[in-house]
Structures are given as C-alpha cells and as structure tokens.
C-alpha cells in the first residue's frame, strides 16, 4: 500500500515534469499549439510501473551487504552468466559454436549484414581499447573517439596524397594513435578523476573543431571520399568479396586485441594500472612510476583506436568529422560501462548488443541514445560492475589450513 501511494505520487510528478516539453509543442510559424495529453498519460503510467520496480530493486539492493567505499572492489557472488561461463562442459562447446558461427557468418547472410557486423566488430575493438584506459587504469577518457579519428584521417590523407596502401597505413594509424595518446597524456598527468574527464572531453572537442575548420588539410565538413578499400596482394576484388575479406580481417583483429589485452591484464604493467585505478596515492607510494603507467595506459588505449580508425576509413571509403563526435565517445564509454569495466567478454557482448540492436530493431534506433543514457544511469545504480563483472583475484584465507600449517 505504501509503495502504491508512493508510485502514484511519482507518476503525478513525472506527468508534471513532462507536461511542457512532451505535452505541448508550439509551432510559431503556423501559430499552432499542439497539446498531446495522450503521451502525458503514457508517461504517468510508465512512471508508475517503473517506480514500483525501482523501489523494489533499491530495497533489494539495500538488503545486500554494503560494498566497501572507495574502490570498485566487490567480491559479490558471481551471477548466473558468470557461472555458466566458468563451467568447462558448457563453456567449451559454446565457444566452439560461437567461433564456427562467426567464421561462416559471411556465407550465410548478404553483404549488408556483413557490413553491419564489421561496424559492430570495430566497436568491439574500440571498447576493448577504451577498456584499457578506463576499465583497467581507471582514467576516464571522454575524448577517446579523437584517436579513432587520428587513425581514420591518417589513412585517408596518406592514401589521398601519397597513394599509400591499407596494409602500410594500418600500423601507422595505430602508432599515430598511440603517439597522440602520449601527447594528450603528458600535460594532464597530474590531473585525476573529474578534471581528467573534462580535459579529455575538451581535447576531443578541439580535435573535431580542427577537423571541421582546417579546410586546407582535412577538407573540412565535406570530408574525404574515395578512400581505398583493404587490398589483398593487388588482387582486384568485387565489393562482396572485399566486404567478406574486411570482415575476416576484423575478426582477426578482434582476436588479436583480445589476446593482447588479456595478456596485458596479467602483466606487470597491467597490475600497475589496476593499482592506479584502486588508489593512486597508495600505488605511487608502493613505488609504481605514475607517469609511465598513465602514459602507457593512454598510449595503448589509443593504439587500438588508431588501428580500427584505419579500418573504419577503409570500410566506409568516406570519412567526415561527423563520425567523431562526443556522442561516439559516449557510446564507446557506455559499451565499457555496460559490459563491466575491465571485463573483456562483457565489453564484447555490450558492443554487439549496443551496435547491432539499433540496426535490427529499426523502431528502436530513434530511441537509441535515450536508452543509452538511461542504461548508463541504471547500471551505475544497480549493477556498477557491469553485465559481466571482472572477477578479481582474491586471496582466500582458510582458517583450518592455516592452523594446520602452524601446527
């Protein structure tokens, strides 16, 4: 009953909130005022249901033991998905099936679908790259897409002016991305948390403004067209074949990215990143070189963005500054957040869901960004560890064994 009353109140409140913007549309040219009472009613109904659910979830969350402050540490019980993933009898056939499906995928569907899949895989790599900076090192980067732009423009310009091929430009794009990562990281080494976020956001915006306005170098808002598709030993491939080829290329790159990030996670530098994420001061006090750790996190994160930037330019054969806005950065960030910061498999699933869903559910695509925003808020409140939590290595102290050891 209390919940019912409360939810009624919430419904009324949201109807009040949405009244002027959703409920009224003013057309000053035709001098018409359009009242949309029906949508307000829907809002009221939706708010009522959601509020009921919201309170239930919050109560449930409060029932759980409180997580320790100041760290993402949460040795909570692994979810259903987690347990499924750790069951070898299930895990191996599943992985095999997924692998098989991805390999034969281009032979089952038409070029259009393959093209969408390539885009989704590009975002998988972007997500994994940003996962290094944000998920592992805890450095919130809101201008990540700028490095993507570096790679794309590097290939486009080199191809346009010097006729350099895709394969030569691929490492160049990655290295340029990393270089810009260091250049960006260097002046802001001292900053942390919120300041860092806002400065990276600033850098991202500056990059876009420069791309838009420096016509003589970047061809402004018109962009660059007729970029070469990826080549295969100088063979002249048809569009279908080249798309399939790009798809396999992307698959290989994804596999390579997963391999590298996975190895990095358990390396010395990966440990340093995670220490930095948990507590910067303690980490430095333990003798970790902060400058080197932060710069390497930026450089390695940016490297992947530069790399897939080249592929992005080659896939589209056309780029302009509109592909590199803050919204794209936010999208990659929400992929990392949704997937679970630091978790590789989570990031992959999140990227596929977030990129493919709007493509296949056309009705949904209009509300895509709205849902993104809501998801980011809800995830932070109800499941900050993401869809698939990154399981922390923990040291379990077993009392009996310890007693035995000490005789």
């Amino acid at each position: 009953m209390k919940n019912f009353k409360h939810s009624c109140g919430v419904a009324l409140w949201f109807m009040f909130l949405t009244l002027p913007l959703l409920g009224v549309r003013v057309n000053t040219i035709k001098s018409e005022v359009e009242w949309r009472w029906l949508s307000i009613l829907w809002v009221g109904l939706g708010a009522f249901v959601l509020s009921y659910f919201w309170r239930w979830s919050l109560q449930r969350r409060q029932g759980q033991p409180k997580r320790p402050q100041g760290g993402a540490a949460e040795p909570a019980a692994p979810g259903l998905l987690q347990r499924l993933l750790e069951e070898p009898g299930l895990y191996r056939p599943m992985l095999g099936a997924i692998l098989l499906a991805t390999v034969i995928f281009p032979w089952l569907v038409d070029t259009y679908q393959v093209n969408i899949m390539i885009l989704a895989l590009i975002f998988v790599v972007l997500g994994l790259g940003l996962n290094i900076t944000v998920g592992l090192a805890g450095l919130l980067d809101l201008g990540y897409i700028a490095f993507f732009a570096v790679g794309a423009y590097a290939y486009a310009l080199l191809n346009l002016h010097f006729g350099l091929g895709f394969w030569l430009c691929l490492p160049i794009g990655g290295l340029l991305g990393a270089l810009f990562g260091v250049l960006l990281g260097f002046p802001i080494l001292r900053l942390r948390g919120d300041y860092l976020a806002i400065v990276t956001l600033g850098f991202g915006s500056i990059a876009k403004i420069v791309l838009e306005n420096w016509d003589t170098v970047f061809y402004g808002a018109a962009g660059i067209a007729n970029i070469d598709r990826p080549g295969l030993f100088g063979l002249d491939l048809k569009l279908t074949a080249v798309t399939t080829y790009t798809y396999y290329l992307m698959l290989l790159l994804v596999a390579f990215t997963i391999f590298v990030t996975n190895r990095l996670k358990d390396s010395r530098i990966g440990r340093a990143w995670m220490a930095l994420r948990e507590d910067e001061i303690a980490c430095v006090a333990m003798g970790v070189d902060m400058a080197r750790t932060k710069l390497s996190a930026y450089a390695l994160g940016a490297f992947w963005a530069g790399l897939v930037g080249v592929i992005f330019a080659a896939r589209n054969t056309y780029i302009n500054p509109n592909s590199f806005t803050f919204m794209e950065s936010a999208m990659v960030l929400s992929i990392v957040v949704l997937g679970g910061m630091g978790s590789i498999i989570g990031v992959i699933i999140a990227a596929l869901v977030l990129i493919l869903m709007p493509e296949y559910l056309r009705a949904f695509s209009e509300y895509r960004m709205l849902v993104f925003g809501a998801v980011m808020v809800l995830m932070m409140i109800f499941r900050p560890q993401g869809l698939i939590a990154n399981v922390r290595k923990t040291y379990a102290y077993r009392k009996a064994a310890a007693e035995q050891a000490h005789g």
């Binding site: 000053t28 403004i209 306005n213 960004m369 925003g373």
Partner: protein, 300 residues
Amino acid sequence: MDYFLELFLSGLTRGSIYALIALGYTMVYGIIQLINFAHGEVYMIGAFVALVVAGALTIYGFTGVSILLLAALVAAIYAAAYGYTLERIAYRPLRGAPRLSPLISAIGMSIFLQNYVLLAQTPDFLPFPALIPDFDFMEPVAHIMGSAELVILLVTALTMVVLTVLIKYTRIGKAMRATQQDMTMARLVGINVDRVISVTFVIGSVLAAIGGVLVGSYIGQINFAIGFMAGVKAFTAAVLGGIGNIPGAVLGGLVLGLTEAFAAGYISSAYEDVFAFGLLVLILILRPTGILGKAVRQKV
C-alpha cells in the same frame, strides 16, 4: 576603439551567462565533489520551457514584457523540478560509491535529457520570441550596446547579489556552507544534509534556467544541443575561478567570456571553442586550483 568596446561588451554578456551556469556547478561540486554533467541540460530545458510558455501565450494573443516574466518564472520552476529529480534519481542512490560511478551516471543523465528534448520537441533550431523590449540609448552608447545586453548584465548582477545574501545570511545558506566544510560534522550538529544537497541543486538549476531564458532571447534561437557546450564552458569557468568557490565562478565566467570574445574577434571565430578549452587546459596545468582557489592538502 568601438570594435574593442563591442567585443568587451559581448564578452561581458556571454561571460555573465557562463557565470550564471557556473554557479550551479561550483555549488554542487563544493558540497558533494561531483561534476553535475547534466547541469547544462537543465539550462537547456529551462530555455525550452520558456520557449513553449512564451510561444503558446503569444499564439493565444498575449503580448508584452509580462510574458517574458511569466515564461521565466515557469522555466525556473521547471528547472528546479528537473534539478531536484535529477539529484534524487541519478546521484542520491550513488552516495558513497566510487567516484567514477556518479560521474558516469551524470553523463548518462545528460545524454538522456538531451535526447528526451530531441524526441519530445524537434532536432531543429526553434525561433525564440524576442521578448526583451528595446530601449533607446543615447549616442554614443546606442551603437555598441543593445538592450538585451544591458538586461543580461543587470539580471546577472542582481542574481549574484541575491545569491550572496542567501548564502551569507540565511539559515539554509549557513547549512550549505557547513555541509561544504564537513558533511559528517554538519550531520552531527543536526543539519539535514540530504535536504541541503537538494536545495543546492534547486538553486543551481534556477540560476541555469535564468541563464537559459536570457540566452534564448538574446540569440533568438535554441535547440536541444545548446546545453552541452554551455555546460562544458560553464564548468571551464568554474574551474578557472577555482571550483567550489562562488566569487571564483563569477570571475571565471567573465574571464572566459572575455577571452572568447576577443579571440573570436581578433583571431578567428571558427576556433572560438578551441580557445576556451585551451584556456582550461592551461589553467589546469599551471594552477589547478584556479584563480581564486586555495590549495587543498590531500590526506593520505
């Protein structure tokens, strides 16, 4: 000389708008150390509500300054409501969570609100009714200063005075300052901290809405995306002046506005935003505490 004066005035005008929005950032940051990323969106919503109210009233046949006042009042009420709701939904459940969580939640809220307005209204720029009446100035003032600029400067100055009085002398102002100094201590002496934070959001949102209405009638058109840049700029202003510091926010806003106006006027208007961000980066590198900020010692 005229050109210089014109730039100076336009810098002051936009600077005072930045200052109005920056106050919201700085007050919230001072109390809960959170960049309220969605603050720019509250400003945008304020402008939109004013547009809808003023537009509807104009169409139903009302005219005059009273419309502007009424639209501004409704916009302020709605911005306050949005600010309050925002805090309740996106920030309050995250008290005590790691610092990255509320920041991401704030970004999510900002994206959500932008797209809400985009879907509910239109993606296009909507004409904002020119509501600030024209006064006649005497020469030589007339051809460098418009009435809108004067109104903006006056309203901003008045708002600052009211805010200062509110924070210095009223009960809630004292509670706000106490909470800013030490939240636990404030709670111990019987201050309802949650209420103080809500009030802070409400005040900040009202200021942002005032800014939104002023900008709308000054520039003459608004769309759903205006909040984002304004928010980033206002945050820059807050950092410039020293975040958490109220006179600092005003000073930072004015410095930023003047910098932009002169850079746009004498160097290049296309790169105006680059100068704003450049200034932010420079300040953060050279003097991270801002112009008026005090160094904070971090306890380990």
